[in-house]
Amino acid sequence: MRLPAFAVGALVLLPACQHREPPEAARARATEAFLGTQIADLQKLVSKAESGQLSSQDRIAIGLSEETAKALIGASLPPEQVIGGRIRLTFESVQPIFRGNNAALLFQATAHGVRVPSATARLELGGGLTNFRIEKGTLTSTVHLSHFKVLDTSLGEMAGDVLEALVRDNLAALGERIPALEIPVHLEQSIAIAGLDAGVVVTKPGVLPLEMTLAEVLPVGERLWVLLEVKAGPWQKAAAAEKSP
């Protein structure tokens, strides 16, 4: 009975008897694919700009550098996450890449076994910023995780595959744990101007309403550019003037 069991076990393990690709090779492959996407997206963007279909002049432009985005997302990375009751995953760092009309994020994470903490693995998780929106005067976007790679592991090839499967199954949920990126700008919805009551001269206060809508998101040249369509007015008079001392 022992022989058939061994045989079946050996058959199952056989496919794992291949070495995981070195991290450098995996990264080079991913970089090539990402650069290809950037080039394709940029070609579309360039033809849009050159044909005059990209309007920016009357729009508010907000540019966020990769470095500042890194500091903002890095400061708000979620605490340790437990995946499937078996793996503790910690986000170590993030690298935003705002190039080639792609707002990509590359997270470095480490994984430890829940029961065997000495078993570790290093992961790279990739994704991007999506769903840009203005909410109550705040410019926000959602972090979306789309792929990952186990870079190296002390778990062995088999356990590495198990880890990959676990992360793959929980990738969307992991992405939801990463806070949305709030671009740190305040966008006022109106400009209020106080009136004046100086006895002889009385000016009523008023409000200039503003309407801002998201027009374009352009991650190019290591900067995330957000263009906002903005309309001002008409002026609305308010209730009372301030009494002049």
Partner: protein
């Protein structure tokens, strides 16, 4: 027999192993791209980015190259800034009233007339006008805005439009000399009159300094006080009252009062006008509506953002503001953060 069975099983196992390896092995990947290939792609990407930048500049974003490079950059179109300024300035002036209250004007004098052989004083008059209230409305025209290096020069035409007012006219006539006293006597009349203001055009000139307020761009007004002179314009009713005051007197008295020429006196004292100072503080600083935040709340964690302004550039097409941010975790407002639940 047993040996043959083992040999067959061994053969079967070997075949299954080869089959399984072929089916389940990781796909054979092509060799990873070389560094040279990646550099080539990066160069292609960078060239496209440069071409895009040129296309954007050619489409009108002339000042992009001059914008202060910083962690966060905000470019506000001058067309939008001009629209905000225009609407705020005209909005404020469109709701401005000038109200003069309890003004008193006074005129007194003697009336002399030829009595038989020589001129004699026939009476003294005292004319008082108490303006209880006169109100004028300002109507702004279209301002002219000129963007300078760090200012926006504003010229605003303002029209002092129609107004209205109420006043009391008081006339005292004290007849002198026997003959005058005999034919006229003394007169003491008070009448309510109405009037308006004489429309007049003014021009307000000043500027808004474009300044860095730390986390946003602010437009600070620099305007002098505006001196407005309001000329009261007696209404038809007022002139009719004056005519009536004269005509209701006895003939001799009417002649004496005609000598006073009440209308001319009234027009003279009101024609000097009244000065009103429109203080420069009628203009308020205007904070442009996009600025850098000083803190963020992320999943209950408060992040303090230390904002260091990096520059302000006023160009023809945009006002550029740049700031660098240093992020530090402040406090957790609602006690210790609960551990995140495990991902299922």
């Amino acid at each position: 027999m047993r040996r043959r069975l083992f040999a067959l099983l061994g053969l079967l196992f070997a075949a299954a192993a080869v089959f399984a390896w072929l089916r389940l092995r990781r796909p054979t990947l092509p060799p990873p791209p070389s560094t040279a290939r990646l550099e080539e792609l990066k160069a292609q990407r960078d060239a496209l980015q440069a071409r895009f930048r040129q296309a954007v500049i050619a489409s009108g974003e002339k000042s992009l190259a001059d914008a202060p490079r910083a962690g966060i950059m905000i470019g506000i179109p001058t067309s939008f800034t001009a629209s905000v300024l225009e609407q705020v300035v005209t909005g404020l002036f469109g709701e401005t009233t000038l109200t003069l209250k309890n003004l008193k004007v006074h005129k007194e004098g003697q009336v002399r007339a030829k009595m038989l052989v020589r001129k004699k004083t026939i009476g003294d008059y005292v004319l008082d006008v108490q303006i209880h209230q006169v109100q004028g409305l300002l109507r702004p025209g279209k301002p002219t805005l000129v963007f300078g290096r760090d200012t926006v020069n504003v010229t605003l035409p303002v029209h002092l439009a129609e107004g209205h007012g109420e006043a009391t006219l008081h006339l005292e006539w004290d007849s002198k000399a026997f003959a005058a006293n005999l034919v006229c006597g003394d007169v003491d009349i008070t009448r309510a009159v109405t009037g308006g203001v004489v429309p007049k055009d003014y021009e307000i000139s000043g500027s808004f300094a474009i300044a860095n307020a730390g986390d946003a761009i602010i437009l600070r007004p620099r305007f002098p006080d505006l001196a407005v002179r309001i000329f009261v314009d007696p209404s038809e009713q007022a002139w009719a009252v004056v005519d009536g005051v004269v005509k209701e007197q006895a003939k001799g008295c009417e002649m004496a009062l005609n000598k006073v020429d009440l209308k001319a006196k009234l027009a003279g004292i009101l024609g000097r006008g009244f000065n009103v100072k429109i203080p420069q503080k009628i203009f308020k600083p205007i904070r442009l509506p996009a600025g850098v935040r000083q803190s963020l709340q992320v999943h209950g964690l408060e992040l303090a953002l230390h904002v260091t302004p990096a520059g302000l550039v006023v160009a023809n097409d945009r006002l550029w503001y740049g700031a660098n941010l240093a992020v530090s975790s402040k406090t957790q407002p609602s006690g210790p953060k609960a551990p995140a639940p495990p991902v299922p």
